[in-house]
Amino acid sequence: MSAPLSLGPARPVPLSAVNPVAQLSAVLVVTCVLLVSGDLVTPGVLLAAELALLPAAGLSRPGDVLRRTWPLLLSALGVAWVNVAFGSLDGAEAWLSGATWALRVVALALPGILLVASTDPVRLADALTVHWRVSTRFAYGSLAALRLVPLLAAEWETIRLARRARGVEGGRDPVAHVRLLASTAFALLVGAIRRGSRLATAMDARGFDSGVTRTNARGSRLQPLDRWFVTGAVALCAAAVTASVLSGAWSPVFS
């Protein structure tokens, strides 16, 4: 859990050289194609390409990959199982359908994991505000809130222990567990909103709401590499769809 929570400055990896908005564009293209596709070949091709990018995102050791992807893999298995066991299809067709949907879930989720592994959130906010004209107030406001995630995780543990000290724990009663979870979450939310309000005051004290056009000390540059990256993603999607159509597997979802 600690690995995906570390939202500090990301360790630079080869993929970090690609501007975050270029990465996001590629993710968007891939996501759109996958959302339309309903066959096994398209996600298969795209997934192969995504897996090939894992080392560039610094995820070359199986342990690292697994630490970031285990909830995803669990869910893909669940989706496959639900469709095989409870879908309207039987036999080999059901298995094919299950595999298709599982593969699609993984192919859809991996680009996000690649992005997180290679991108510093500050650089992402910079790129979004510089290139996509996203509102600086919303981008950096969100960034400030995002910084609270690791604090929330630590606080959750403390609150849980504090509840036990008060004589409250789930024990064997599932209802008590749910109530405890709800009350812990509420305490966490109160703390988070309070901290968020203070953070907003501190940001205003530093001129965040001054109304002056904000400058950016770091800047964000687009380079030829970024164009190649997006072009590559588009070409890959075209290749995947072509392969799918040629093999006769293509069956779009919305048809």
């Binding site: 600690s2 939202l7 500090g8 400055p9 510093d120 959130p121 500050v122 950096y140 960034l143 400030a144 910084r147 609270l148 690791p150 604090l151 606080e155 403390t158 609150i159 222990l161 504090a162 509840r163 036990r164 000290a165 008060r166 004589g167 409250v168 724990e169 024990g171 009350s183 305490a187 109160v190 703390g191 901290r195 203070r198 953070l199 005051t201 501190a202 940001m203 205003d204 004290a205 530093r206 001129g207 965040f208 001054s210 109304g211 002056v212 056009t213 904000r214 400058t215 950016n216 000390a217 770091r218 800047g219």
Partner: protein, 495 residues
């Protein structure tokens, strides 16, 4: 416009011309004037600040004191132009360099209490640059200004250091650098050291001293630790609870801390002991707490002290039965374990309801322990959970409300209480289940002198011969006031 006080050989970050009301038209230290000033929050009937008349000359350093609830923080926010018009009513006059403070926002730098509620960026340098970016400073002028500010506070870990990996004192230093980077004429500090350990607090005070040494900014400080700031300030102004101010003469010192009456007890039996108890986080190479021997005796108070990073809070969690030691063990005496279904088990495996009646714990942040929406329910909860009847739980709650002076607040929401009241309530909730052992983590952390005295008196009452207390604390005065035995944890293993 010429700069009357050239700031330490650096260029002041210039402003973009034509940016309307936010363009600043003052340089050097700012002058502050208050005449009959008052402020009332929209949701309250009473005035938070009232009838304040005060002149602060450019370059002066003022310490603002006053009992908790006297409106120090509200006044500081007003000076910073941070009170929104819709958040309440203002009375009288308040000017910074002759204009309303919300028009002088760019002339003001503010540092608040909680560093985690002030840092925005993930890297140190980026965070200091944040304020400069907001005011439209051209990028090529930002980095020199950032370096100057980092240098001014003595932050030498470099621009690229991750803010999350800093200690509290270093974080607060960084926040100060961020406030100083736009070269403010007025520096406002709102309890900047309240959440820091003594070393961190000293670090921050040293950074402030260094930053204002050339009198390039007027300084107004609010802090509970009055004595520590006295060498740095020119004037001490006290806000009175019902309005108005008193200026203390030069050489003034606060009244000494009120020490509690204490009965010294003969060491009783050992109720709870850590035997080579240590703890290492999973996946960590370095132990959070090296194996430690410690014994809590009936009628005695043990203070656990030591520098940051030696595992004081971890030791408290082990003794409180909230974490399992990874080495050694925690053993409770038969008189404590009596009545348990499995008395052979260590405290961390006791059911929570059984634990609460045997070992009570008070956490650093009282809010973490609150479970209900009313003070009265909060006090009854512990007894109810450990099997007392409703009538008995109510009686216990009423008695504690009286004894701890919380009766007037019986129906208030615990989250809305002041810091000191919350602290008293959290001690009261631990006492409600009448545990033999009471473990407290930094009970006096960030409290003003009044609350400090109240809390220490309350804890002194608990040393009744039957109970064992364990205090984890940085506060040397608490150790003097309450401790019979002291356990100092060793120097931390270097990373």
């Amino acid at each position: 416009m010429e700069d009357p006080v050239p700031p330490r050989g650096t260029r002041r970050a210039p402003r973009v011309p034509g940016t309307g009301s936010f363009q600043h038209d003052g340089v050097g230290p700012a002058a502050v004037r208050l005449a009959g000033f008052g402020f009332r929050h929209a949701s309250r009937r009473a005035w938070a600040v009232q009838d304040v008349d005060l002149r602060i000359e450019p370059g002066e350093r003022v310490l603002l004191t006053g009992a908790s609830g006297a409106g120090k923080s509200t006044l500081l926010r007003a000076l910073g132009g941070l009170l929104e018009p819709e958040s309440g009513d203002a009375a009288g006059e308040l000017t910074v360099d002759g204009a309303a403070p919300d028009r002088r926002r760019q002339r003001v730098g503010v540092v608040f209490q909680d560093p985690d509620a002030q840092l925005v960026m993930t890297r140190a340098g980026d965070d200091v640059a944040f304020g400069l970016e907001n005011t439209g400073t051209p990028p090529e002028l930002i980095w020199p200004a950032v370096d100057t500010a980092l240098d001014a506070v003595g932050f030498c870990l470099g621009r690229d250091h991750a803010t999350a990996a800093l200690s509290g004192g270093q974080k607060q230093r960084l926040v100060l650098a961020g406030a100083l980077a736009p070269r403010p004429g007025l520096l406002l500090l709102d309890e900047p050291t309240a959440q820091l350990d003594p070393d961190g607090a000293a670090l921050v005070r040293a950074a402030v001293a260094r930053a204002v040494a050339d009198r390039s900014a007027t300084l107004v400080v609010v802090d509970h630790d009055v004595e520590a700031w006295l060498p740095l300030v020119d004037r001490v102004v006290e806000l009175l609870p019902h309005g108005g101010t008193v200026e203390h003469p030069p050489g003034w010192r606060p009244a000494p801390l009120r020490m509690p009456v204490r009965w010294v007890h003969e060491p009783g039996e050992v109720l709870l002991a850590g035997e080579a108890a240590g703890f290492t986080h999973r996946g960590s190479a370095r132990p959070a707490l090296a194996p430690t021997d410690v014994a809590l005796r009936a009628g005695r108070t043990l203070a656990v002290t030591g520098p940051n990073g030696t595992g004081k809070s971890t030791l408290a969690l082990l003794l409180a039965g909230l974490r399992a030691p990874t080495t050694g063990r925690v053993v409770a005496a038969p008189t404590v374990t009596a009545g348990l279904r499995r008395p052979d088990r260590p405290p961390h495996r006791w059911p929570a309801a059984e634990l609460a009646t045997r070992i009570g714990t008070v956490f650093q942040q009282p809010e973490h322990q609150f479970l209900t929406g009313r003070v009265r329910d909060e006090l009854a909860l512990g007894s109810l959970r450990s099997g007392a009847g409703a009538a008995q739980a109510r009686a216990t709650a009423e008695e504690l409300l009286e004894r701890l002076g919380l009766a007037a607040l019986a129906d208030a929401n615990p989250f809305t209480l002041s810091g000191g009241q919350q602290r008293r309530l959290s001690v009261a909730t631990a006492l409600a289940t009448a545990p033999r052992v009471l473990v407290l983590d930094e009970p006096t952390f960030g409290q003003d002198r009044e609350t400090w005295a109240e809390l220490v008196a309350l804890l002194a009452e608990q040393q009744d011969g039957d109970r064992a207390l364990c205090l984890v604390t940085h506060d040397a005065a608490v150790v003097t006031a309450l401790a019979d035995d002291v356990c100092t944890l060793g120097v931390p293993v270097p990373v």
